[in-house]
């Protein structure tokens, strides 16, 4: 009987979506690689090839039996560097998403449920933040504070919650008028419990979809920052700075740009497709 919960029905729909399953698989593979590399580097375990080991007699080699995706201008193995970069990219994506989701949900929920002057003040703050082009805000912040992966994550999270807040607020504006919220109030429940237990779960589907779609956005921003060399400082490899280093050799060493580019593309596309599939699965629920 419990199997007919709304969550089960969304899951059932999702599992019948082939594109969603393939995308999920891609994300799982990326995740496994990133987590494996992360654990190895933290624990100091030997990896097949160290991402920062240079070898000048093996520089700019095309893909071959030893270096599957070739080497760069310092003879570093591109595949190893991409694996190391995947840890950074996924960490940035997920932690920035969590930061922006946390702020966005709280601000949006309070704003939408309470309304009145609280709503007015919070939404004007959101408007003010949206006036700044967020990429330049991030660039400025990092130029002042200095590049460090955790600062980059925090800044991306801190400037990207406005969309989530607006979405959550809109959901709350609709749902707070619903009959079951009135029934919960008539039962004598407190506002925090009504917000987080009665309204939030009903707004879960659109919030979850935005969260998933904000992951590739954060990954792309980090890659962009690294490409402009405002990102994670070298020699630490990220997908963005491998491309940045490789762009000088664009005509001689295509592998320096194509493979990390493909990784960014595949990861972003997989997250977008998963988000889209979730949206479709959740939509059929309300039909």
């Amino acid at each position: 009987m419990r199997t007919d919960s709304p969550l089960h029905r969304v899951a059932r729909k999702y599992l019948h979506d082939r594109l969603a399953l393939v995308s999920t698989l891609v994300i799982v593979v990326f995740f496994a690689v990133a987590a494996g590399a992360g654990v190895c580097s933290l624990a100091g375990w030997p990896m097949p090839m160290r991402p920062n080991a240079t070898s000048l007699e093996r520089k700019l080699l095309p893909p071959n039996a030893v270096n599957w995706l070739g080497t760069d201008n310092l003879g570093r193995d591109v595949l190893s560097r991409m694996v190391a970069g995947s840890t950074i990219s996924l960490t940035v994506g997920f932690v920035a998403m969590a930061v922006s989701l946390g702020i966005g949900i709280v601000v949006g929920a309070v704003s939408g449920y309470l309304g009145g002057w609280v709503d007015n003040v919070l939404m004007r703050v959101v408007d003010a933040l949206l006036c700044f082009p967020s990429f330049f805000l991030i660039l400025t912040a990092i130029a002042i504070i200095g590049p460090n992966i955790w600062i980059i994550i925090a800044v991306i999270g801190l400037v990207s919650w406005t969309g989530t807040a607006r979405l959550v607020r809109a959901e709350f504006l609709t749902l707070r008028e619903s009959e079951y919220v009135r029934a919960a109030r008539a039962l004598g429940q407190r506002a925090p419990r009504i917000i987080f237990r009665h309204i939030l779960p009903n707004a879960f589907a659109p919030i979850f979809v935005t969260a998933v779609i904000s992951i590739p956005d954060a990954i792309l921003v980090e890659s962009g920052l690294s490409f402009l060399s405002f990102g994670v400082p070298p020699p630490q490899a990220t997908w963005g700075n491998i491309i940045a280093d490789g762009k000088t050799y664009l005509l001689d060493a295509w592998w320096l740009i194509v493979f990390p580019g493909l990784a960014i593309f595949a990861a972003s596309l997989a997250f977008y497709l998963v988000g889209d599939a979730l949206r479709r699965a959740a939509e059929t629920r309300s039909q």
Binding site: M1, D4, E179, R182, A186, L187, G188, H198
Partner: protein, 280 residues
């Protein structure tokens, strides 16, 4: 005579809208004693639901505004209470059953977890919450309550949903139940069943009941008193039998005449002609 449980003294409520101030409730007074049943009858827009929601300050303020009068529940003025005190009255003192059972239940939780919330809130001494839920679901006429309490709202029929709502309200042991058009959204046979349940449970629990309806046909035998509301005012208030037999106000007469009678040969249903602009 039993003591007064709820007393409204010249309660007035108005709404500030962009098109001006609307007086929704004008100097409404009535008294309900313990164990009594009051019917509030009137057409839509007459202010009966606003009156009901105002009893525990459930109206959103703004735009609503309590512009005068007092609401005395067990001798204490609801309008003067702190937010925490009002929350205590909601559910535990005055509980509600609303018109739309399908949307009054939260779709993402089983009815068990929704009924449990009220019990935990107002009766923290209850140890076995599940047993209490089964008891009340059984009391409102749900078959096999131990299994059905794990259902989600969409798995229940409209009548079952309204029974679950009534069980949720009653499980908090309120002193007064406010049923705001509890049967309007249900079909006629279920209406009769739900009203019968309400009549029986009111007697068993010894609570007071306010039944809000636009249908004069359902209040006979269920309600001790009736208040007829029209454009925010109570135009007639008294013993149900008296009002039904000797209605004084023309609006009451017209309302009673609108109830179709079984066996009478009528070509057209009676309607109320009323000119809103001139007020005649």
């Amino acid at each position: 005579m039993k003591p007064a449980l709820l007393e409204l003294r010249e309660l007035s409520i108005r709404f500030r809208t962009e098109n001006g101030v609307v007086e929704a409730v004008k100097k409404v007074s009535f008294t309900i004693r313990e164990g009594e049943t009051l019917a509030i009858v009137g057409e839509s827009g007459s202010g009966k639901s606003v009156t009901a929601l105002s009893l525990t300050r459930l109206l959103p303020t703004p735009p609503a505004e309590y512009s005068g009068g007092r609401i005395l529940f067990e001798g204490r003025d609801i309008l003067a209470m702190s937010a925490a005190e009002v929350r205590h009255v909601r559910g535990g003192g005055i509980a509600y059953v609303f018109q739309e059972p399908g949307t009054s239940l939260n779709p993402v939780y089983t009815i068990r977890s929704q009924i449990a919330e009220g019990i935990r809130l107002h009766r923290p001494d209850v140890r076995d919450v599940d047993a209490e839920i089964v008891k009340w679901l059984g009391a409102v006429g749900i078959v096999d309550p131990a299994a059905r309490m794990h259902d989600y709202p969409h798995q229940l029929s409209g009548g079952m949903q309204q029974r679950a709502m009534i069980a949720m309200a009653l499980s908090c042991r309120p002193k007064l139940l406010v049923a705001d058009e509890p049967t309007t959204a249900l079909d006629v046979t279920i209406q009769a069943q739900i009203l019968e349940e309400l009549r029986r449970l009111r007697a068993e629990c010894g609570m007071s009941l306010i039944l809000i309806t636009h249908n004069f046909g359902i209040i006979r035998g269920l309600c001790d008193h009736v208040a007829v509301m029209f454009r925010g005012e109570i135009v007639e208030y008294g013993d149900t039998e008296n009002v039904l037999k000797n209605p004084r106000h023309p609006y009451t007469k017209a309302l009673i005449a609108c109830v179709p009678k079984l066996g009478s040969k009528q070509d057209r249903l009676r309607t109320i002609d009323y000119d809103w602009e001139s007020g005649t």
